[in-house]
Symmetry: C2
Subunit: 199 residues, 2 copies
């Protein structure tokens, strides 16, 4: 890559990272393109050298977020030192710790954008739905492994349990964000892992 | 009430209803006060005769919504012709039907505003949290009745089961709104009522 192309790539990455932070903090609508540019000292008007539109910018941010998040997720869900049920719980506990560090703000970028934008942009909605389906598949693989070992209930197919898990965990994050409290996450973890999932 | 006061009250109610519809459709940030006024043909600038601020307007909308919703909720949750577990399920099924009629748009005003505003206004957040706690209490009463009849599991206190139910149902509505699909609601209803709650 030539120096010019490398600088362009670096600028693009910096825009994605700053855009991700702003959208997590303020949502899509409240994240003005000018705000992102000026936070990096990039001249006004140069945005369209990097992205076709604000919507295209958000889609690239979603891809970037998915890539980073999936890597983190797989590290937990394929941890050979823990049983599948423990790994699922590790995931929730780690998310809860992160959420606490962020002082119960922000939640999850995919969840937030979904709620804000799914009625307003079918392009964004489709991207967000793809990411959600992909993550559910990763959870289902882990649940299936737990079912084979007999530590997770076998009366419900893994994909269906994974969907229930994602529904419930999404609801817990959502409620925790609203109430500025870890309690919804703790309640979900307790009942899910001590009562409902155990085989 | 004099004619003038009655007209003022009518105008206030019309503003609340229109504001509720807009906020459900577009969220708080995208609902301009001017938009609400002009949808009713009310002159610009007269808004502050009725409400101190946009935030105060939203709080009155939340109260109004809570009042209407609680009435509907209690009609279902205290239906003497159905068992407590059936009533809880009736609630979910009715919500699902409403959601389908609205073509999988909108979701719940309280949920939407929570997600959008809890980081941005502690006043709104506190109001929304109060409403959520009140509704959870109504579900807990119904669950407790079901536990006394032995049709709902007794290993978890009613308040805690109610919190899990609200977390999960909130997640199901959230996911259904994003995916424009009834499936998350159906999955939640199936697993919750056929697998997890049954005593």
């Amino acid at each position: 890559m030539g120096t010019k192309a490398a600088i362009k790539q670096d600028t693009r990455n910096a825009l994605l990272q700053a855009g991700m932070d702003f959208m997590l903090e303020k949502g899509y609508t409240n994240t003005g393109v000018q705000l992102v540019l000026s936070s990096l000292g990039i001249p006004k008007g140069s945005f369209y050298h990097y992205f076709e539109s604000k919507e295209a910018f958000a889609i690239s941010i979603i891809h970037q977020f998915d890539q980073e998040y999936s890597t983190k997720l797989l590290r937990v869900l394929r941890n050979p030192l823990r049983s599948p049920l423990q790994r699922l719980r590790d995931y929730c506990e780690a998310e809860k710790d992160d959420f606490e560090k962020q002082e119960c703000r922000k939640g999850c970028l995919i969840g937030n954008l979904s709620q804000e934008m799914s009625d307003q942009s079918s392009l964004l909605r489709d991207e967000l739905a793809n990411v959600m389906a992909k993550w559910r598949g990763l959870f289902a693989d882990c649940i299936e492994e737990g079912q084979q070992l007999g530590e997770i209930i076998q009366t419900v197919p893994a994909q269906r349990l994974a969907e229930f898990f994602c529904i419930g965990w999404g609801g817990a994050v959502f409620r925790a964000t609203t109430l500025k409290s870890l309690e919804p996450m703790e309640t979900f973890i307790d009942l899910m892992f001590n009562e409902f999932l155990r085989g």
